[in-house]
Symmetry: C2
Subunit: 432 residues, 2 copies
Amino acid sequence: MKYKTQMEAAKHGFVTDEMKIVAEKEGVSTDYLLEKIAIGEVIIPRNKNHNSISPEGIGTGLKTKINVNLGISKDINDMDLEMKKVDMALSLGAEAIMDLSNYGKTQEFRKKLLEKSTAMIGTVPMYDAVGFLDKGLSFIKAEEFLDVVRNHAENGVDFVTIHAGINRQNSEIYLRNRRVNEIVSRGGSLLFGWMKMNDRENPFYEYYDELLEICREYDVTLSLGDSLRPGGIADATDPGQISELITLGELTKRAWEKDVQVMIEGPGHVPIGDIEMNVKLEKKLCHNAPFYVLGPLVTDIAPGYDHITSAIGGAIAAAHGADFLCYVTPAEHLRLPDVDDVKEGIIAAKIAAHAGDINKIKSAKEWDLEMSKRRQKLDWEGMFELAIDPVKARRYRAESQPTDEHTCTMCGAMCSMKNMNLILEGKDIKID
Amino acid sequence: MKYKTQMEAAKHGFVTDEMKIVAEKEGVSTDYLLEKIAIGEVIIPRNKNHNSISPEGIGTGLKTKINVNLGISKDINDMDLEMKKVDMALSLGAEAIMDLSNYGKTQEFRKKLLEKSTAMIGTVPMYDAVGFLDKGLSFIKAEEFLDVVRNHAENGVDFVTIHAGINRQNSEIYLRNRRVNEIVSRGGSLLFGWMKMNDRENPFYEYYDELLEICREYDVTLSLGDSLRPGGIADATDPGQISELITLGELTKRAWEKDVQVMIEGPGHVPIGDIEMNVKLEKKLCHNAPFYVLGPLVTDIAPGYDHITSAIGGAIAAAHGADFLCYVTPAEHLRLPDVDDVKEGIIAAKIAAHAGDINKIKSAKEWDLEMSKRRQKLDWEGMFELAIDPVKARRYRAESQPTDEHTCTMCGAMCSMKNMNLILEGKDIKID
């Protein structure tokens, strides 16, 4: 069958190569995927021009995926450094990389990335607009924003964040309900600024049909950005955020009518008590479109440790149905992450995703079960093999050798694993 | 009034100096504390011989507290190293330190610790039994275990973990319902071994009344240990764990009859979906006695990162009513933590406690609000002052200087805080 998008194929009952790969990776049937992709609950972001990709599915019934942000910028315009982050992300198994490049040779970097990346690639065309169009923000014409999207689509980008929800109506609702942290979304704040300076409607909202044509042509998945996501605990789940979410739900339906795949971006900074509600509200208002959360960070007071604050929120969100987690590094709120920060962020996000999956994906806990078995047997090599970061686990143990090689220096002779194994075999334990 | 324990004083409506201090620290009334301490929902662990203490309350309506484990052992018998961990714990504001010393000059270490520690001190007398009594585990007589408790109480220990719940009945239930990870509690496994080798009832269960007399005499809080806590996701919330919890609830009532303060220790390794239930079950079966959780770790697959797996579980537990979190360090399951690990563990536990408090303590989110305000103002010095780890936050930012000093290298000119402040003042933003 000739089809434009995975969704179109699914609606016609046609199983694509991508669906076969995803079914295999997830241990689900292609029938399941056909049904879920047709109704928008599952997406397979895969631009027809991204040849190096190993496709992944995102959505209901599938494992939670994680995304890594990187890219060249004015302050740190070092392509090699960012490529090192790419290598780190790929080696640690991140399913997606967002190239947030916003200054310098962005297209060169993007093309290099698309050539090598097995992970899906996302971008925020808004960040690249000023550089690509070579004119100041306020001077960009509404239609020109689409030229940036078209260029990214041609390059092979699998999904694009588009802040189409911060339209005039939602801007007014936001302005009537001011916040401690105003609009913290970079793309959202730039669009809000552009709208104010030009007294115009949001160009992505105004030209949404044209945008959908571009996405349909290359099967670019729309990641509908939440410009009004809360940037502080005090602002969580406020009128602006929720009114924008309603608009994103409307835009989701319009995209699906044109067979364009969609996911919805979510908060942000959210207290633990609000997270489940936020996931359920997205699923309801956006018709079960996959939910891509940026955190959520469960407190504002831990700069330097926001990989942990977001792992807490991400795990809870994933457990309740969020499908895709954007990593956050220890550098968040302080500076651009370095390669070590990227690693810390990826591991924390993977832990969060897996901890959430234990709650919703039947097979997820098999990994834990196997680790627990090896732990009881004091099979250290076996534990290292299964560890989320075998290198760190090995190094930690090597740094501190126990007298009894079967135990570790935490408990030594009092090792409960060792002692219980003896007692349960009817042997005595000796502690003296 | 002459009283033996805080609980006795509270039952008679007498406000102790400790209650006054705790009321001041928590922003609650002494009337509130009197009511809650009298019924066992709040405890103030404070041995009458621990003079350096700055008392803290644990329980309903009070901020979630954290505990730091350390102590000398056979493999790493370095008193200076452990004292550095003590200094780290005190400087970072940990409210409790458990001295798990189990080899060497344990009493000397314990006395030094009690002399200097403003934090409450807990111990597990079981760990110290072999050394203190100077005989092999299997040769210790039932009554002799009490001698160790008495010594710790005389020294000034504020709370002791006692594994009185792993009695014959619960051992049998456990043996009928075997696990992937058997008895992972160190003290619990040693007692189980002792019981098997000597064919005797659990000495702390058998001599529970005598134990209560010691606790009452010095106002030592009983921390009733959960020997059958799950040590792997597969074992969570199983018959052994819950039957022991029922016993701990019975023992709680017996302690309260003698005015002995009690808290209940909890799991362990628990999937996210079981955490709220575990907290509610403890509150129900143990009559709202404060809940002290050891984690919970939400996955088994992340050795090297268990400060994160436990921060996720700890935050969720605290949000649902757990009162006291035992820190877990990155070294868990691999080796004894070093000083850096201790720091990482404390920060992660403090983040978890605070994230949970946002959900249950009205004043908790004021810290986040103030941070968010300073963030919007790009008041970097102000943010550092409020950061949970000002040193790391400062270092991170200093490592990477932005062109525009008001922003950071993450977003540079695209800083949403800066741009929104300009736009909302009616000014143009320039991105070019």
